[in-house]
Symmetry: C2
Subunit: 156 residues, 2 copies
């Protein structure tokens, strides 16, 4: 359990940034297949993936979307944010072992506590793999929440 605080709408400024980095593991790809139901062999089967234009297994595109949503919910603006919308452009494949950095940047403060946030995901070569913009309802007040530990899973 860790304590995480959020940025209130009034505390957010144009150009404010946050970023977080994560390496894509085998477990991530299997968990995303399990939770989404997308078991396409380009994600799960190395031999099949070798026959595709990607040459090797790739992560699900929306896995990067999940990382973006987590960065918004946990980081900028953080807990208490309400996710209103997200535009995503998938620009490059993500491979097993890639190190993904989610970069957020406040683009615009809109009426009624809404903010537009640039949401980019870069790989370890600084290549953009996902570009996009989120629309978020920021908390009126900064709040602190006790963030439960991540549930741990093992494959059956």
């Amino acid at each position: 359990m860790t304590t995480v605080s959020s940025f209130a709408y009034d505390d957010l400024s144009i150009g404010q940034k946050a970023q977080q980095t994560k390496q894509v593991t085998e477990q991530d790809i299997l968990l995303f297949a399990a939770v989404s139901g997308d078991c396409n062999p380009v994600h799960l089967d190395e031999q099949y993936a070798a026959t595709t234009m990607f040459k090797e297994r790739i992560a699900h595109g929306m896995f990067s979307g999940a990382l973006i949503s987590a960065a918004i919910a946990c980081n900028l603006p953080g807990p208490g944010s309400i996710y209103l919308g997200q535009e995503l452009t998938f620009t490059r494949p993500v491979k097993l072992g890639d190190s993904l950095t989610v970069e957020l940047e406040v683009l615009e403060k809109l009426p009624k506590n809404r903010v537009r946030i640039a949401t980019r995901v870069l790989n370890q070569n600084n290549e953009m793999v996902v570009d996009g913009v989120a629309l978020v309802l920021a908390p009126k007040k900064s709040t602190e929440v006790n963030m439960p530990s991540a549930p741990q899973f093992i494959q059956k």
Copy 2:
């Protein structure tokens, strides 16, 4: 292992639809927290969630995004599709136990095998919880793939 075939670009017609339904389980919410890293207590902690405007635990918004991406990848156009982009508007919260129907509808056929597909998610009360549009590169030829079984996980 099941065999799934895709629709080639030339086989797709404006107005063509597909849908799939899934109930949101406790395991889904925990798996999504694990794979995204978003462990906000509004998703994981019943007591905390009772103090929020939602009154009870809600699924992560991007969980619905994951279901949309799976419907595109497995159903319409199906295997061999390349996901180019997705717009999402989160219109209502999703509760534990809700039954979510992802509805896809081909909106437009664009040059170079690209298609725009309406992507809506409805709950058991026929209320829209997510609205959106996907941009997909459809396969040039219909292909059949052997879809591996979904990885099975148990919580540690």
